[in-house]
Symmetry: C2
Subunit: 203 residues, 2 copies
């Protein structure tokens, strides 16, 4: 699994193949089936390993601070392992391994203990989790490829028309003026959700 994670970090899940993992371990691909029941099981274990590293306990913090820490921690980890979000969100067959269940339970617990009703806690959980995974996946899919940044940007601007894409050009300018590794934009949406939830909390 370590080998698979290293390879996936380096060249993406799409390029990850049993044969490649075998090569990296000096072994034929078929030998891997002695340790893992199939590629899906391997991918699932990789994802769960990442979930296991998300910070869930924040001592002496109110619910908002605590959930913000969990979400930003997850964001950081998913950026470090760019294949994880993709695998969680497009599984083909859903499964909820241990660490993921712990992660879900922890978010729900903190919402309930903050005073939300079961229904609002459910809604809140979905809003938070879909932002954490969804925003991060969006970000990962739209990163400028590091090999040829200038060519890429030039290509992109050639598509834009001054009249028809007035606000898009302005939007691009904002991105250049305030360069962001994604944390600011992620935090903006996150606070929108947390503050919105806060306003619905019965006093």
């Amino acid at each position: 699994m370590d080998a698979a994670m290293t390879l996936a970090d380096a060249s993406g899940v799409r390029a990850l193949s049993m044969r490649q993992i075998g090569d990296h371990l000096g072994v034929q691909a078929m030998s891997l089936y002695n340790y893992v029941s199939g590629k899906n099981a391997l991918l699932s274990a990789m994802v769960d390993h990442v979930f296991g590293e998300i910070p869930l306990e924040v001592p002496n913090a109110d619910w908002k601070t605590s959930l913000r820490a969990t979400a930003t921690g997850a964001h950081d980890l998913f950026l470090a392992h760019p294949w994880a979000c993709e695998l969680v969100l497009t599984p083909g067959s859903i499964d909820f391994p241990n660490a993921r269940l712990r992660y879900m339970e922890s978010i729900l617990a903190r919402l309930r203990q903050a005073g939300f009703s079961p229904l609002d806690a459910s809604h809140g959980y979905h809003a938070l989790d879909s932002h954490t995974l969804g925003y991060t996946l969006w970000e990962l899919g739209h990163r400028i490829p590091p090999d040829t940044p200038e060519d890429f940007i030039e290509e992109l601007f050639k598509q834009l028309d001054d009249d028809a894409h007035r606000y898009l050009l302005e939007h691009a300018k904002v991105h250049f003026e305030y360069p962001d590794d994604g944390t600011n934009d992620f935090a903006f949406g996150l606070d929108l959700i947390l503050d919105g939830l806060d306003a619905r909390l019965p006093r």
Copy 2:
């Protein structure tokens, strides 16, 4: 492209192959390359077709109503074509075809015309788009498979421990008590974002 979309709607993008499309058209897979430069170009065109159908103009509506209509319209379309979200968010190589650019421009324009600064409009755009695509993809990936619902649910519950997953069990109960096709949960997060933006609008 029609053939490809029908097949993808029916059996998913993962199962979509050039050979299968060829079969469906009574032709060999290689013939398709007379009409399309490659599989990626085909997938990109399919996605853009979906973007083209998202409602962008809502007459006589304030910005919130208008953006809500666009987001829920997109949500509906992405549920009808379950491959679209996945393709947008995990492209491998980013591209912004025409209809997608129009969609982005339209959201940005409405935010700017509502009175948001360029920076807040950018933030708002990202929050909205990542919720629209991200929540929907989350939902699509976690739908209960229609073929074996009972088996699936039973399997899932067997994983849950009464003590360790107290709030998860409660969460599952909420889902049974308030069955939802996804629109309510989607709208909840959407309103969190729209209301949060509204509060930041200079008066």
